[in-house]
Structures are given as structure tokens and as C-alpha cells.
């Protein structure tokens, strides 16, 4: 975990608002205003070279949107994205090729991310072709074979179609495609959440190996805290389009500050906690079209007060070394609440 000082990827004040207004006519007649869904609402982020930065958060908090913004599939509403200092803010995916070649993506769904009508070799070779990286078909074949073996498959598998492979194998093919253009930076949007745990282990191990061997930098997205814990050097916890807590992974896990982070850590089912009755969290994830004023988490937060309801907290350095956006943390209101600390030793079984 050798983090250099200069980040490979950085985002400043990144925003993405989706226009989800009803059609013009409805707005006219029903006098409804335009509606904007703030999927990402002001995100500052730096990812040091050679590290894994993970984003966690509940469904719909904007993780995938960040991923797509980074690779250029969405144009940001505001803010900037830089890669090695080059501004990519308004460049679409694939442009400029010299830089986009160096950032690729692994998708969540191993079934949807491979074109069912294409042979595996063509799928893997597509980036090579598009970025014009290899002179002829023979060297392309060789490269595809090499990549397949790199991800633990047989070089002959290139002649088959995706449906002939299991989910785990498909995800390996996705990875082979993603690394075929020799990227430095990989965005992984829940790459294992569609897979079984045993296959997940294979893929996570593979990703770690590849990172070591190829010096990759990951933006890793997941809602599974255990997986994130396993993979990351740095972690950002998102809630409703904003980062509420960020810092080195170990610190965040060892000493979560933000109430939401604590809640997340508390609610993950844990095999070490047999027959535990988890305290269910009250409330539901609020609607991003109409987020609560002030701190978006306040309706579910046991520590919220008047300030939380009105004033948006900034990300501030917390005593733990992480940065937290929470008034309660900043004010030190937050004693040891009903949140669970990470046990250092497995708890004893009840008999």
C-alpha cells in the first residue's frame, strides 16, 4: 500500500443531477415544477496511485453514478474530474483515447456486461481494436490468449460465446477485457455482488493479484462492508449523493465516527454473531429527489438536533484521522452510542 502523494484520479465538487421532470405538458397542466434528482451532490475525492479506494453506501446513494461520471459515461452537472492532472470533465467516454485507454471499468452483472452475440475473443479484443493497440490479428490472438490465461482461463476459451461460461468465468472475461488496454485505473462497480461467496473469493483474490502485478489503481464500489474491508486502502461512505465519512480503511472500520457509518457496520449480518438479534434500524432511505434539509441523514439519526435539521455539515477532520461530515461528531456530542465496535477477537458462541 504505497500511496504516492500525487493522486491518480481526483474529483472536485462533482455533481450529477438527473432531470426527472414529468413531460412538459404535465408540468404545464398540473403545475408541477421541474424535478431534479441529485444522484451525486458535491463530491471531493482523491485516489492515490496504486491504491484501492472504496465507495460504500445503501442502494441508490449514487455510487454507480460516480463510477460512470469518472469514466465519462455521464457528463457531470458541475465539478471536475482529473486524471493525472489532465482535465477530463467534459470529455465523453473513450475520449481522448490516449487517456481513456488507461481507465477501464468492470461491471456488476457478468451476464449483462458481455454481448451475448459476440465471441469471447472479440469481446476481449474490442478495446485493443478501438484503441488501435495491436498491428494484426495474429498478435491480437496472442494477446487475447495471454489475457485469458492471466485471469485463470484457458486460451482456447476465446472461441466460445459468453453463455457457455458460468458467472464467475464471465466476470473473469470482463476483467480480461478491462485490463486488455493496459489501464492504470479500474473502476469496479459492485463486481462481485451478483456472484456466490465462493466465486466472489476467487474474483477478489484475482483482483488483488492483478493489482499487485500490474500496479493498478481501483475505484471499488460495493455495499458489502466486509468485501470493502478486505479490498480497500481508503474508503468513502456515501449517503444520498454525498460522502459522509472518508479516510483510510483501517481507521474507518476501527473507529467509525459518523452515525451512518456506525449504523452500517452494525447492521451487516456477521457469521461470527450467531443467533444475534440485530436492532433493526428505523426508517427508510429518503427520496433523493426531495432530500431532507440540513444533514440528509437526520431523520434516521438518533443524535440529530435542530442544527442537523437545518444546516448541511461539511467534511471535517475527525479526531480519528478520517474526515466526517457530521455536526454531532464535530461538536463532540457523540458519545459511545448504541453502535457496535468491531470486535478484535471473535465473540464466544452461546451454547
Amino acid at each position: 500500500m504505497t500511496a504516492t502523494s500525487e493522486p491518480l484520479v481526483s474529483m472536485q465538487g462533482l455533481k450529477k443531477h438527473f432531470d426527472v421532470s414529468p413531460p412538459w405538458l404535465n408540468r404545464m397542466l398540473e403545475r408541477k415544477p421541474r424535478l431534479h434528482l441529485r444522484a451525486v451532490d458535491g463530491l471531493d475525492l482523491e485516489i492515490p496511485r496504486g491504491t484501492t479506494f472504496s465507495l460504500v453506501g445503501e442502494s441508490g446513494c449514487g455510487k454507480s453514478t460516480v463510477a460512470r461520471l469518472v469514466v465519462g459515461l455521464y457528463a457531470p452537472t458541475a465539478g471536475s474530474i482529473r486524471f493525472e492532472g489532465t482535465d477530463l470533465t467534459d470529455r465523453p467516454a473513450g475520449d481522448p483515447p490516449a487517456i481513456r485507454r488507461r481507465m477501464q471499468m468492470i461491471f456488476q452483472d457478468p451476464y449483462a456486461s458481455l454481448n451475448p452475440r459476440w465471441r469471447v475473443r472479440d469481446i476481449i479484443a474490442e478495446p485493443l481494436k478501438c484503441f488501435g493497440m495491436l498491428p494484426d490479428r495474429a498478435s491480437e490472438d496472442r494477446e487475447v490468449g495471454r489475457l485469458l490465461e492471466l485471469v485463470g482461463m484457458n486460451s482456447q476459451d476465446g472461441e466460445k460465446y459468453p453463455h457457455e461460461f458460468s458467472g464467475g468465468q464471465r466476470q473473469r472475461i470482463s476483467i480480461a477485457r478491462a485490463i486488455s488496454s493496459k489501464p492504470d485505473f479500474l473502476v469496479c462497480d459492485e463486481p462481485t455482488s451478483a456472484l456466490d461467496v465462493s466465486v466472489q473469493a476467487q474474483i477478489l483474490n484475482l483482483m488483488k493479484e492483478l493489482q499487485r502485478e500490474l500496479g493498478l489503481t481501483y475505484l471499488f464500489i460495493s455495499h458489502d462492508l466486509a468485501v470493502v474491508h478486505f479490498m480497500s486502502d481508503f474508503i468513502g461512505v456515501m449517503y444520498l449523493g454525498r460522502i459522509v465519512e472518508t479516510g483510510p480503511a483501517r481507521q474507518v472500520f476501527a473507529n467509525p465516527q459518523h452515525p451512518y457509518t456506525r449504523l452500517l457496520l452494525d447492521t451487516i449480518p456477521d457469521i461470527t454473531m450467531a443467533r444475534r438479534d440485530r436492532e433493526p434500524v428505523a426508517g427508510e432511505v429518503p427520496n433523493p429527489i426531495d432530500p431532507p434539509p440540513g444533514c440528509a441523514f437526520h431523520p434516521r439519526c438518533p443524535f440529530s438536533d435542530a442544527r442537523c435539521r437545518s444546516e448541511l455539515p461539511e467534511l471535517r477532520n475527525a479526531p480519528s484521522g478520517a474526515r466526517t461530515a457530521c455536526h454531532a461528531v464535530a461538536e463532540g456530542r457523540l458519545a459511545d452510542g448504541p453502535v457496535r465496535a468491531v470486535p478484535s477477537t471473535p465473540a464466544q458462541m452461546p451454547t
Binding site: P22, P23, L25, N26, M28, L29, E30
Partner: protein
């Protein structure tokens, strides 16, 4: 919902304009009405005079403007052939066509839906396969051939049903109905079978496909898991959920049945709008033709609108107040 209706209305205007344009364009190409209005021995002079009288020698934009102006008020002038206001002619024929189409639609639904349900529930049964193939024949035989064969069998050979016309009709205000007399009902049988046969197949296949789709859904599995009776599952849940697409298609088909009625009415001399239209075509009776086109388009638009509104009735997800808690 209001926005929805307004959108549909705008669309309807679009459709009607397009149709008006087509109808007007037809004026120029259906033949010269003057020739069929005058006796053979009429002189060239007479013909020119009549042409001028009908306004056929005016510039085309003027003619179009007049046409649209009249159409907007529902006025299409006087039939060249029958010398009666076209609106009267249409009103006179409308009941016949509508009764025919609704009888055919009813026939199609009463046959098609049960057959579709049956074939969906017994997907691999012999009877199902047979029904499937027989129904295909239903859409493979041109309707005019079916019509003639029906006449041959049921009128000429068996002498059971009349071969033409509407039988005795009863006047209810401006509406003339054949539904209240025995001979009217008997007369309705063959034409509505001919017109509905195609739709039977269509609806049966649609219901079957949708039903199969619905039967695979989780909520049907869950309904079974709750121990509901097959009846409740198939007819309470599955059938109800197949209704949406059936409504759409049935609605669209109702419109095309009005158009297809042209053929049925020709074969059975059913005194409806289709027959009026076909006669008008052969006499180049332009006012009647254009009124027919516009009316069919209007009916179509109205049916589509009703279908869309039915959605709001059938599917609670669409209705207003579908607020999420």
C-alpha cells in the same frame, strides 16, 4: 391524467389532420365524378358546366381550405350520387356497421378468450395443439373466401341463415337496430362470424401468449403457494393480469374491424358504412369517401382514447393518487 388526455387529444388532432390530407388527396385520383353524374349523351359543354358547379375547377389550395372548413363543422356536403347530405347518409349507416363490428368483436372475445385460456393452461394437450393449428387456418384464409363459403354452406345448402342484408330493423330514434327482431339476429350471424373469425385467432393467440407469460410470474407462483384454488389463480389472478394487452389489441382491432367491414359488408350486402364507401369509390362520390375516412379515423381515435382510459381503470398503478408511502 389531465395531461394524458390533452396529449391524446393533440395526437388525435394530428391523426385527423393526416387523414384529412389523405382524404383530400384522394379527390384527385379516384376518377372524375362528373362522368357518372351526367347521362352519356351529355355534351362537353354540360360536363364543363357541372365541373364548375361542383367547384372542381378551383385552385387546389382553395378546394382544400373549403374541405377542411367543412370537415371541421362535420359538413361534407351532398353526396354526388345520392344527393343527400353526407352526414345523413353516414348517420343512417353507422348503426349497421357498429352493430356488425360489435357482434363480431363479441363473437371474437367469447370464442378467443376461453380458447386462449384453455390453450395456455393445457399447453401441451392434444386439443390445445389442434386448436392452435385450426386457429391459424382462421388467419390464413382470406376473409372474402370465408364469407362466400359461409353463404354457400349456411344459406344455399342448409338454408338456415339469410345470405344478405340485415333483416328486419327496428328504429330507435335515429338508431336502426337489427338486434330486436329474429330475422335481424339471424342475419347478423354469418357476417359477424366472417368478420370475427380473424379476430378470434388473434385474441386467442394473444391471450395464450400473455397468459403463459403471466403464469410464469412470481405472483402467480406465490398465489399457488398460498394455496389458492386453481380457479382463483387462473381466472382471478392470471386472466385479470392478461387483460391489459388484450384490451389494447382488442381496441386497435375494433378499429381495423370497422375497416375490414368493407369486405364483409360487400359480401353480405350489409347496409353499413363500408358498403357506402365502396359504392362511393366506384361512383367517385368524393364527399362520401372523405367523410367515411374522417369518420373512421375519428372512431379509431376515440376507441384508442377509451382503451387508454380503461388502463386507468384496470391498472391501479396508473391511476391518480398512486402515492407511495
Amino acid at each position: 391524467m389531465l395531461a394524458f388526455i390533452v396529449r391524446r387529444l393533440l395526437q388525435a388532432v394530428l391523426v385527423m389532420l393526416a387523414v384529412a390530407l389523405i382524404a383530400f388527396a384522394m379527390f384527385r385520383f379516384v376518377g372524375d365524378p362528373v362522368n357518372s353524374m351526367l347521362p352519356e349523351i351529355a355534351t362537353t359543354e354540360d360536363r364543363q358546366a357541372l365541373r364548375a358547379q361542383l367547384g372542381l375547377d378551383e385552385p387546389i389550395p382553395t378546394q382544400f381550405a373549403k374541405f377542411i372548413g367543412g370537415a371541421v363543422q362535420g359538413e361534407f356536403g351532398i353526396s354526388y350520387r345520392n344527393k343527400r347530405p353526407v352526414s345523413d347518409l353516414i348517420v343512417e349507416r353507422l348503426p349497421a356497421t357498429l352493430e356488425l363490428v360489435f357482434a363480431a368483436a363479441l363473437f371474437a372475445l367469447l370464442m378467443g378468450v376461453p380458447m386462449g385460456v384453455y390453450t395456455a393452461l393445457n399447453r401441451h394437450g392434444f386439443v390445445s395443439n389442434l386448436l392452435q393449428i385450426i386457429s391459424l387456418i382462421g388467419i390464413s384464409v382470406p376473409t372474402f373466401v370465408t364469407g362466400i363459403l359461409l353463404i354457400l354452406i349456411f344459406s344455399v345448402w342448409l338454408n338456415w341463415l339469410p345470405s344478405f342484408g340485415r333483416g328486419e330493423v327496428v328504429q330507435l330514434g335515429w338508431w336502426s337496430t337489427g338486434l330486436l327482431t329474429i330475422s335481424g339476429l339471424k342475419s347478423l350471424v354469418l357476417p359477424s362470424v366472417m368478420l370475427g373469425l380473424f379476430q378470434v385467432t388473434l385474441i386467442m393467440r394473444l391471450v395464450r401468449a400473455e397468459m403463459l407469460e403471466v403464469l410464469r410470474t412470481d405472483f402467480i407462483r406465490f398465489a399457488r403457494a398460498r394455496g389458492l384454488t386453481d380457479r382463483a389463480v387462473h381466472f382471478g389472478h392470471a386472466l385479470r393480469n392478461t387483460l391489459m394487452p388484450v384490451i389494447t389489441i382488442a381496441g386497435l382491432q375494433l378499429g381495423s374491424m370497422i375497416a375490414f367491414a368493407i369486405i364483409t359488408e360487400t359480401v353480405f350486402q350489409w347496409p353499413g358504412m363500408g358498403l357506402l364507401f365502396i359504392q362511393a369509390v366506384s361512383f367517385a362520390d368524393i364527399p362520401v369517401m372523405s367523410a367515411y375516412l374522417v369518420l373512421v379515423a375519428l372512431i379509431f381515435v376515440v376507441i384508442n382514447m377509451i382503451v387508454d382510459l380503461l388502463y386507468f381503470v384496470v391498472d391501479p398503478r396508473l391511476s391518480v393518487g398512486g402515492d407511495r408511502a
